[in-house]
């Protein structure tokens, strides 16, 4: 079965989704990512979805749950490069992905994660306050 590769860069894990997500793939990704965070002690997860054209409620929910699991393991999730059409679809589906940070592109996403890294423990709204709830 296909698996989505997870890259490790410093204390950040990077996932780029370049194929159409199907349910099995999403479940596998969650599992792999969780195991990887636990193994490497990563502090940040960057999911790049600029190639993702189709989302449904299940994929949306998987993204939320990946973020929630990562947070339990003390890693922040940033979703980068969402397409306008995907954003509209998610909002229309009522999935506003609360609790997940978003960034326009990978560069900004990495900046967001980096800004948080040096301050161990201070994870509540150190930057860009008030928008993540």
């Amino acid at each position: 079965m296909d698996r989505i590769p997870i890259l490790k860069l410093g204390s950040t894990l990077i996932v780029t989704i370049q194929v159409d997500m199907h349910d099995r793939l999403a479940l596998a990704l969650e599992e792999d990512l969780t195991a990887m965070i636990a193994r490497t002690g990563a502090r940040g997860v960057l999911i790049e979805i600029s190639a993702l054209e189709i989302v449904d409620s299940f994929i949306g929910r998987m993204l939320v749950s990946i973020a929630a699991v990562s947070r339990v393991l003390d890693a922040e999730t940033v979703l980068a490069g969402m397409r306008p059409a995907v954003a509209i679809t998610l909002v229309e589906l009522g999935l506003e992905l609360t609790g997940i940070r978003t960034a326009l592109n990978v560069e900004r996403g990495m900046a967001l994660l980096k800004a948080r890294l040096p301050e161990d423990g201070a994870r509540d709204g150190s930057d860009r306050d008030g928008l993540e709830d």
């Binding site: 969402m82 306008p84 954003a87 509209i88 909002v91 978003t102 900004r108 860009r128 928008l131």
Partner: protein, 290 residues
């Protein structure tokens, strides 16, 4: 029917053309369309003469069925007249009266010709009534269709005009909303904004609702949707320009906008600049400090 109404009508129209046209033009002159100054008398007379001629032609081969092929030139001419009146802003009454005011002169002429023959008179009146009513209805249909076309076009123009996305600074966009937000417009607004966020690589989008007359639960929901979609793209939204009365109404209605909001666009812009690590200073003061 002992007497052919179409035949009676045709004969009357041919033989009494001058008298009928004269009476019709008098009645048109008295009508309100001339007094409103939207059309000149000469133009009205020309139209009347053309319509009369076409009516006679239609009648001579098509009987009293105004939908018949022989009436096609007349129908097209009337449609043109009606369309131009709709655009010029005539009232529906004025437009319909153009045709209906022909009734009286024709009835009068019929009465003069067939006063002795009651059945011929009745048949002629019935034929004239049938044709003119159908033509009157046709003018109304075209009138309404043209009006709707105008309204539709205006609606489209307003929608296009009222959803601009403005670039205020590097990475700061403003979306001044004007007019009521319904779901169709929200869709357009959202698409424009998100596309602009991608194109400009914007970090912050300011949604200014100074021009939104009322904010009810539905509008608030549309706003929140737009904000949520922008957030998913990785841009923050600031809502600005909520007028005092609207703020009160919103609180009384229990509408909650869980977004950053500022009273004016200027405040929102200042916040956006601060967020992106910029500051506006007065030049003089900055020089003195050196």
């Amino acid at each position: 029917m002992p007497m052919d109404g179409a035949e009676v009508l045709k004969r009357t129209l041919t033989e009494d053309e001058a008298a009928i046209l004269e009476a019709w033009s008098i009645s048109l002159r008295e009508g309100t369309s001339l007094q409103s100054g939207r059309i000149r008398e000469a133009e009205l007379q020309t139209q009347a003469k053309a319509v009369f001629g076409q009516l006679r032609d239609g009648l001579s081969s098509g009987g009293v069925d105004a939908d018949a092929e022989s009436y096609t030139p007349l129908r097209e001419n009337l449609a043109d007249i009606s369309r131009s009146r709709a655009i010029q802003g005539f009232t529906p009454t004025d437009t319909a009266n153009f045709v209906f005011s022909l009734k009286e002169p024709i009835f009068e002429a019929l009465r003069r010709r067939s006063a002795a023959d009651a059945s011929a008179l009745a048949a002629g009146v019935w034929a004239a009534g049938k044709v003119l009513d159908r033509l009157g209805l046709l003018t109304m249909e075209v009138f309404l269709a043209s009006r709707e076309e105008v309204i539709g076009r205006q609606g489209q123009e307003i929608a296009e005009l009222s959803t601009p996305v403005v670039r205020l600074w590097d990475g700061i966009l403003a979306l001044p909303l004007i007019g009521t937000l319904d779901s169709a417009r929200t869709g357009v607004v959202m698409e424009n904004l998100l596309q602009a966020i991608v194109d400009e690589e914007a970090e912050i989008a300011i949604i200014d609702i100074t021009g939104v007359p009322t904010v009810d639960t539905l509008v608030a929901q549309h706003l929140l949707k737009t904000v949520a979609a922008a957030r998913l793209m990785g841009a923050d939204c600031i809502v600005s320009g909520i007028r005092p009365q609207i703020a009160q109404t919103m609180v009384h209605l229990g509408v909650e906008l869980n977004v950053i909001s500022k009273a004016t666009l200027a405040d929102a812009f200042a916040l956006a600049l601060r967020r992106t690590g910029r500051k506006v200073v007065r030049q003089q003061a900055a020089e003195e400090r050196r």
